[in-house]
């Protein structure tokens, strides 16, 4: 097991390094000079002389070779220095830290919600194959992967916010400030975020349950005289969850993608909204750091999933 974990860790570090290279490279694709864009956004940019421009180049290290620039950037980030936002005139690290709890709060809520709902529904659908709940699960799983999340958000706002006036249509309060208000406000966004994950998890659980149900060891478990509960929970569910766990990690990436839209539609001040507004403000320092942070989280969670996978399924460890 230790050897397996170490191997996974090394791979994760290599992937993280490549991720930083990709982010750095994408920013190099920006047409023109980042400094010119930067200066263009400052008032009275016309008054800058070539000499001052050269000084700025030296100050920001842009006169150095590209590898040195990369090194400076990455070592800065490792020391917690992500640079300064040209739009907010604030430290990027501070900006991200302010927004992050919001995104995390919504993310954790819907992660828990869609995994529980998905596993339970997939399980029941498999056990009641061909019954109405199975049909319902199938229809839902198709809708979940086909519906644009931003449109779903607007539908919910229209129905439950504008027409029925049950839920607020925008805004966010931190759970530490007012827990009840937090749950109330985040109900619709969390439902939106969860639908796709729910669909994907339910579908996978259903098909892997069906596969496990026809295995010999299930017949053995029944003939040993185990109770229905023990057969279903200990033998069927546990074994059929192995492929579902990988999906949980992948689902996280999907959810971060969904948050970009949900935060936009419900006016929630999280990382996704910050990212979109920074894209429009050409605040690339923020875009760069936010992208890097999100990718790092996805990779670390997938690493955790991989490790737990090895723990659940011993065949993987020695593979």
């Amino acid at each position: 097991m230790t050897a397996y974990i170490i191997r996974r860790l090394i791979i994760a570090v290599v992937i993280l390094i490549i991720v930083t290279l990709i982010v750095f490279f994408i920013m190099q694709l920006l047409p023109g000079d980042p400094l010119v864009i930067f200066m263009g956004q400052q008032a009275g940019s016309g008054s800058i002389s070539q000499e001052q421009l050269d000084q700025l180049y030296v100050r920001y290290g842009l006169d150095k070779p590209i590898i040195v620039q990369y090194w400076n950037w990455i070592s800065g980030i490792l020391q917690g220095n992500m640079g300064e936002s040209i739009y907010y005139h604030e430290d990027v690290g501070k900006l991200l830290l302010e927004r992050f709890p919001v995104t995390l709060d919504l993310g954790i809520k819907s992660f828990i919600l869609y995994n529980i709902l998905g596993v339970v529904m997939g399980m029941i659908a498999a056990l009641r194959r061909g019954k109405w709940i199975d049909t319902f699960a199938t229809v839902l799983s198709y809708i979940g992967v086909s519906i644009p999340v931003f449109w779903l958000g607007m539908l919910l706002i229209y129905l439950f916010g504008l027409r029925l006036d049950w839920f607020p249509i925008a805004g966010y309060t931190l759970p530490t400030e007012d827990l009840w208000k937090n749950i109330y406000q985040s109900f619709l966004p969390v439902v939106c975020l969860s639908l796709m994950g729910w669909a994907v998890i339910a579908r996978q659980t259903r098909s892997s349950m069906l596969e496990v149900m026809s295995q010999d060891y299930i017949r053995t478990a029944w003939s040993k005289g185990l109770t229905e509960r023990a057969v279903i929970m200990r033998h069927m569910l546990k074994n059929s969850l192995i492929p579902v766990i990988t999906l949980m990690g992948i689902g996280l990436g999907l959810m971060f993608g969904g948050q970009v839209f949900i935060e936009q539609v419900f006016a929630i001040p999280g990382i996704g909204r910050l990212l979109v507004s920074s894209v429009f403000a050409q605040d690339y320092q923020v875009v760069q750091s936010a992208t890097l942070v999100i990718a790092t989280i996805v990779i670390l969670v997938n690493l955790a999933v991989d490790i737990s996978y090895g723990w659940f399924d011993p065949r993987i460890r020695y593979g």
């Binding site: 086909s146 706002i157 990436g253 993608g257 990718a295 996805v298």
Partner: protein, 298 residues
């Protein structure tokens, strides 16, 4: 009729040999939902090709006198703020969706499949370098990577296609990589080598065709995901500039009039969902029809 016999006479008997094409036709066209998906996709393609003939109005014609009209006999789905006919814009939007969808699938498919093929076939260090880069790309949420790349490249349909291609590239590479790894162990590959075939010939004439069925399934499912992603990008306003008719942008435009003119947002949303749904149905149908493990079962 022969297929039915095998099902009733018991599972121990080997399935009767049927040609792959016959089996594909039977499994694929038998299901009503798959046919439904196919009909929607056919309609979509026809709409996109004949958009100028089908659209009742010019989708870009601004007429403030007809601003924000409710659906009526004259404008079946009403008009937007600038008095443009919603139905006409929806019809023209199909061009954007299909162009971005097929463009990205083509670009990402060619590059991704080649990378996966090379990685899986050669193995070793080539494999490691290529696949670790793909793993890293997979670390980014697809839509997020597309937003960032599209914004860095600037607006334009081709930039959206490039952005979405880079974001979806690793999917093709991974699947093809897995296929190449298992396919290259086959005897016919060894025979090819014994006959003196080169690497390129083996990869593209023998590994690739054998890996095609799963790739076709992946491409169909990806088309749905890409149309969803294109709608997302244009919803945010990244990449595709107004006044281009794009479904996602139409949903976003209607947002301010949700209470008074819900159809402005609802209509494009329903179209997006229907199209993505159709791609998923057809993709699943293809998967079952092409899966050799289901031979004899379906």
């Amino acid at each position: 009729m022969k297929e039915k016999e095998t099902k009733t006479t018991g599972f121990r008997e080997a399935p009767v040999r049927v040609s792959e094409w016959q089996r594909f036709r039977r499994v694929f066209f038998q299901r009503k939902v798959v046919l439904f998906g196919l009909i929607i996709l056919t309609l979509l393609v026809i709409t996109a090709i004949f958009a100028p003939l089908l659209a009742p109005y010019d989708p870009f014609l601004i007429s403030m006198a007809e601003s924000l009209q409710q659906p009526s006999g004259k404008h079946l789905l009403g008009t937007d703020l600038q008095g443009r006919d919603t139905l006409s814009r929806l019809i023209y939007g199909s061009r954007m969706a299909l162009m971005v969808g097929f463009g990205s699938v083509l670009l990402a498919g060619i590059v991704g499949v080649t990378l996966g093929l090379v990685a899986g076939y050669f193995g070793g260090i080539t494999n490691m370098v290529i696949m670790r880069i793909m793993d890293a790309l997979m670390g980014f949420p697809m839509i997020l990577l597309a937003i960032v790349i599209a914004s860095v490249l600037g607006s334009g349909v081709h930039n959206v296609i490039i952005a979405l291609s880079v974001a979806t590239l690793p999917g093709y590479a991974r699947v093809m990589h897995g296929l190449a790894l298992s396919l290259r162990e086959n005897d016919y590959i060894m025979a090819e080598h014994a006959m003196g075939a080169g690497n390129i010939r083996t990869m593209f004439w023998h590994l690739l065709p054998n890996g095609l069925p799963p790739m076709i399934v992946l491409i169909t499912l990806q088309l749905g995901a890409l149309i969803l992603a294109e709608a997302g990008l244009s919803f945010l306003g990244v990449g595709i500039d107004p006044p281009t008719a794009a479904w996602g942008a139409m949903v976003a435009d209607g947002r301010r009039y949700l209470l008074t003119h819900p159809w402005l947002s609802f209509a494009p949303g329903i179209v997006i969902m229907l199209v993505v749904f159709a791609f998923n149905l057809v993709g699943d149908g293809l998967r079952d029809a092409l899966d050799p493990r289901l031979r004899g079962l379906l």
